[in-house]
């Protein structure tokens, strides 16, 4: 995209580089106590249920979080969305692939290239206004972008990647 600034590219490249050279690790993900809200499969290092890594809300809430205050085209007002940056999340489970296929409860599925996550600042939100989101209200997980921070975020691609009622992620090499 034309408005990409140089710093962003530089940090992205630096980060990707660091990611590629960092030796794979197998962190103990722990076992979900509550209802499983997300199942990650595919080429990942860390798993806790067979080949998959499964998470309840509590496990996700434990990860470093970020909050976007932004409007969306699907809601009527400013939303306060809190969640895990998608890239950080994938990193934390040792994902090694070029893209993910994210699938929602309503069977909506979309591919997101991993190397674009950092620049588009994709966030896997689990709270809105500090509360967990119900299935009726685009919960429990909703990938969002900081749309109000600039037109570069308000793209068709970002909108198509803004998958709600997210339940599955497959990391594809």
């Amino acid at each position: 995209m034309p408005r990409l600034n140089a710093t962003l590219i530089a940090t992205t490249l630096a980060f990707v580089g660091a990611f590629l050279t960092t030796p794979a690790f197998s962190a103990d993900l722990g076992t979900p106590q509550g209802e499983i809200v997300l199942t990650v499969t595919g080429s990942i290092e860390s798993t806790n249920q067979g080949d998959a890594a499964v998470f309840d809300l509590e496990m996700l809430e434990a990860l470093p979080s970020e909050t976007y205050k932004t409007t969306t085209i699907w809601t009527d007002d400013v939303q306060v969305l809190t969640g895990v940056p998608l890239f950080d999340f994938l990193e934390s489970i040792g994902a090694e692939g070029s893209y993910i296929t994210a699938t929602a409860v309503n069977d909506y599925a979309i591919d997101i290239p991993i190397n674009e996550m950092k620049s588009s600042r994709a966030l896997m939100a689990y709270h809105n206004f500090g509360e967990p989101m119900s299935l009726r209200d685009k919960g429990p997980l909703w990938i969002v972008f900081p749309f109000d921070e600039g037109p570069e975020y308000q793209t068709e691609i970002n909108y198509s990647r803004s998958i709600w009622q997210l339940s599955k992620i497959e990391v594809v090499k």
Partner: protein, 861 residues
């Protein structure tokens, strides 16, 4: 300079190219701007305000159907999958509430046919939610109720989807149209820009071709100029502002000796400027740089000296032009070696000077010789004249006559030669004095009568149109011309007629004089050269006539000196006609006097009174001759042998007249005359007459300045001596005698000149006018009272006029006045009264002469 022109053209082209470049930059900027704006437009299109709404709306139906299928499946099973039903419901609920709340559907929701079913659907879903949110048992029990609600939602969901899809199809059509319009606009602008670029390219191509052509022309011009510069015979050196040589052609190499390589980039001052001019050159360059004032540059040809390589300094002619080549100031100089030309000029000048010197030497020799010859000749002729009165046999008298004739002839020749050399010596002074024409002519012809009679010729005279005229001119020179022509005519005519015709030109001041004879005539080829010097035609005749051949040459010189022309016509055997025309302004017509009778002059000796005369003369023979002549006329003579003796005698004794030779040892005549005048001695007021063979006007002036009253040109004849003595009696006249001799001039121009020199022309002119006025007044008074006034009054008036008249050089008038005064004071008042009217005529002429003289003076200043 080609280079400079070229640079100018380059400058012009740069301006054009710059302008074009500017245009190009503007075009590129415009295209960039448009490109960016199109890109922004596209980006703004990509900044989607919509998700895939059609998909969302369609998905709503899909999700509704999934929910419906789930409820129906649950109804059919004993243990229905309630979780699945709940999930399907939640998904549908979320979808519908997204459409109900989402911003992208806000516009859609404004349409009633969209919003109403949507709200209805939401209402039903909320009712369903209350059932879904019950515990499993209740839900299971109320499943049929839920299915009915779901059934009710079906047409609403269908309607929302259909209307939404139609609407968004319209919106995307509009958006596409807008994008199309934008793109069309961009395309239009791009086409226009491309067109502009094509035109620009064409213009640039045209410019390129023009500049190509210019460059070709420049090259040609430059080549021509180069060829000219290198082939010109003039040295061409171009220097820059610092004086260094930047161009140096082949001719310069030849002239200065430095090769081009040696000269280029060298300061010109060290190379070709002679050391003595270097300082001036540097100063000139400095001045030019500082003030931009030019002395040499652009001034055309200047002559100076330049230096060759070998140090030789030579004259050269050069011109410098300035030229600008870009920022450089150049000086282009063209130099030509003119040393040969200068040398030739010098040789020519030398040759001319030598020739002139030779001419002068010849003229001097002639003048000296004739002068030296005249003195002994004077002695011979004088002695012959004395001898004539002594007792002689007839044979002796015959021989004496031959001697006299020969002597006179020789004298005539000598005089001719002297005349020629005098006329050639410098500007001839032509007197401007009034004289009566008729008496002059009559007298002249009378003097020729004897010769004419000897040849048995008759002389006739006719004056046409101006019989009584008094004219303004030089009567002595006119007399000489006429004498030469008539004597010539007589010489070549035997038993014929000599006719003198004088005719006044009716509309100008000119007079034509014609001397016609019936003599032997002149052949046509001889006519062409008769006015040349030393031309004697027929040898047999020349023996008889015995002329020097200078007569006509002298006449021609004199006529031309008077501003006239002379010519001759002739037919061999029939006779000749000599004519000349000279300007002679007519002053007045005088009463005809008793002139032209051909009467011999009354012998003066009969009436002359004895004078006491001092003769100062170193030459014994001359002394003797003069003494004899005077004694015979009854005068008393005292002889002095030189100037010193003469002054001593003059101091001691009163003389009535002093005859003073000029060239004398010890003290010359001029000095002696000055001393006598300044001595206050007894004869300091006596008339002094110069005896001289010198006759140049300057000499006469010198004599007059020395205080001499008149001059007698040697050789002295009794006639001339008597005329002189009678025309101007000394202060002790014995008997009044009226002169018949015409005055040479009414006024003494030298006197006026001297006065003008002392007082200034204007003042003298004023004084003279005053004098004229006064004299007129006095004269009028005299004439008005001549009958009644006592002698004393008349004498006093005459005296009053005399002093000032002499002062202003009115010699004739002054002399007449003195004479009248003398008469009056010596008891001859009757005679004085009798002669008084004569003053009128003399005064009239004097007045005219004075006025002419003043006029001339004022005009020449």
């Amino acid at each position: 300079m080609p280079r400079i022109e070229r640079n100018l053209k380059i400058d012009g082209r740069w301006v054009k190219a710059g302008a074009l470049g500017f245009l190009l930059m503007i075009s590129v900027a415009t295209i960039l701007y448009l490109g960016l704006s199109v890109s922004n437009k596209i980006q703004s299109q990509t900044t989607a305000a919509s998700d895939n709404v059609q998909w969302t709306l369609a998905q709503m139906e899909v999700e509704y159907l999934s929910f419906k299928v789930a409820t129906q499946d649950s109804l059919a099973q004993d243990k229905p999958d309630l979780k699945f039903v709940r999930t399907r419901f939640d998904i549908l609920y979320g979808r519908v509430s997204t459409i109900a709340k989402g911003k992208i559907y806000a516009e859609l929701r404004n349409a009633a046919d969209f919003n109403a079913p949507l709200l209805a659907a939401q209402n039903l879903l909320d009712q369903a939610a209350t059932i879904i949110d019950q515990d499993d048992e209740t839900l299971t029990a109320r499943l049929p109720e839920l299915d009915r609600l779901a059934e009710g939602i079906r047409p609403l969901v269908r309607q929302v989807a259909l209307i939404g899809i139609t609407h968004f199809a319209k919106v995307s059509d509009a958006t596409r149209l807008e994008v199309l319009l934008t793109l069309s606009r961009v395309a239009g602008i791009t086409i226009a820009l491309v067109m502009a670029l094509i035109i620009l390219a064409l213009v640039l191509f045209q410019l390129y071709r023009v500049s190509q052509l210019n460059s070709l022309q420049n090259k040609q011009t430059s080549a021509h100029l180069q060829a000219m510069v290198s082939s010109t015979l003039d040295a061409v050196i171009v220097i820059d502002e610092t004086g260094r040589i930047v161009e140096y052609n082949g001719a310069a190499e030849t002239i200065f000796g430095f090769t081009r390589d040696e000269a280029m980039e060298q300061p010109i001052v060290d190379l070709i400027i002679p050391p003595k001019y270097r300082k001036a050159h540097m100063a000139g360059m400095k001045r030019y740089q500082k003030e931009h004032t030019r002395r040499v540059v652009g001034r055309g040809h200047v002559q100076l000296e330049a230096m060759r390589k070998n140090g030789e300094i030579f004259p050269c002619e050069f011109s410098i032009a300035e030229a600008k080549a870009g920022n450089r100031q150049l000086f282009v100089s063209f130099l030509r070696d003119i040393s040969r030309q200068v040398q030739n000029e010098e040789e020519l000048l030398r040759a001319r000077d030598e020739a002139l010197a030779g001419e002068k030497a010849k003229a001097d020799l002639l003048a000296v010789m004739s002068h030296e010859m005249r003195t002994p000749l004077n002695g011979i002729l004088g002695t012959i004249e004395l001898m004539r009165d002594s007792e002689m046999t007839d044979q002796q008298k015959y021989l004496l006559r031959i001697m006299e004739t020969s002597g006179n002839l020789l004298l005539h020749h000598v005089n001719d030669v002297l005349d020629v050399s005098r006329l050639d010596a410098g500007p001839v002074q032509i007197a401007q004095a009034p004289f009566a024409l008729a008496p002059l002519l009559t007298e002249l012809l009378d003097s020729q009568k004897g010769q004419a009679q000897r040849n048995n010729d008759t002389i006739e005279m006719e004056i046409i149109g101006a019989e009584d005229a008094t004219v303004l001119g030089d009567q002595i020179k006119l007399r000489q011309i006429l004498l030469n022509l008539t004597s010539n005519a007589i010489k070549f005519t035997h038993n014929g007629v000599i006719r003198l015709e004088v005719e006044r030109h009716p509309s100008s001041n000119e007079f034509e004089f014609r001397v016609i004879d019936t003599g032997i005539g002149i052949t046509e080829e001889d006519l062409a050269r008769i006015f040349d010097d030393f031309v004697t035609l027929d040898t047999s005749y020349s023996r008889v006539s015995g002329g020097t051949g200078l007569g006509l040459g002298i006449a021609k010189r004199l006529v031309e000196a008077m501003g006239g022309e002379i010519g001759a016509e002739s037919e061999r055997g029939e006779g000749s006609l000599f004519w000349f025309r000279i300007p002679l302004p007519i002053l007045s017509v005088v009463e005809p006097k008793s002139v032209g009778t051909g009467e011999e002059f009354v012998s003066p000796s009969a009436r002359n009174q004895s004078l006491n005369v001092l003769v100062v003369e170193d030459n014994q023979i001359n002394r003797l001759v003069v003494q004899e002549m005077l004694v015979r006329e009854g005068h008393q003579v005292t002889l002095a042998h030189d100037g010193l003796e003469g002054t001593e005698f003059a101091d001691r004794e009163h003389f009535d007249l002093i005859l003073m030779d000029i060239s004398m040892p010890k003290l010359d005549g001029v000095e002696a005359a000055q001393r006598i005048r300044g001595s206050g001695g007894k004869s300091s007021g006596t008339r002094i007459i110069a005896l001289t063979a010198h006759a140049l006007p300057a000499d006469i002036e010198r004599f007059q300045k020395a205080g001499m009253d008149d001059a007698l040109i040697k050789p002295i004849t009794r006639q001339a001596l008597n005329d002189l003595i009678q025309s101007k009696p000394s202060l002790k006249p014995v008997e009044p005698v009226e002169t018949k001799r015409p005055m040479p001039s009414q006024i003494n121009a030298a006197m006026l000149n001297e006065l003008a020199g002392d007082l200034g022309v204007e003042r003298v002119a004023k004084l003279v006018r005053q004098y004229i006025e006064e004299t007129e007044t006095i004269l009028n008074e005299i004439y008005a009272t001549v009958e009644s006034a006592p002698d004393e009054t008349l004498i006093a008036n005459v005296h009053k006029m005399a002093g000032s008249s002499a002062m202003f050089g009115a010699d004739s008038f002054a002399n007449k006045l003195r004479w009248l005064e003398t008469l009056g004071k010596t008891g001859k008042a009757e005679q004085m009264r009798y002669e008084l009217p004569d003053l009128r005529t003399i005064w009239k002429n004097t007045r005219v002469a004075l006025e002419v003289e003043i006029e001339t003076h004022q005009h020449s200043h």
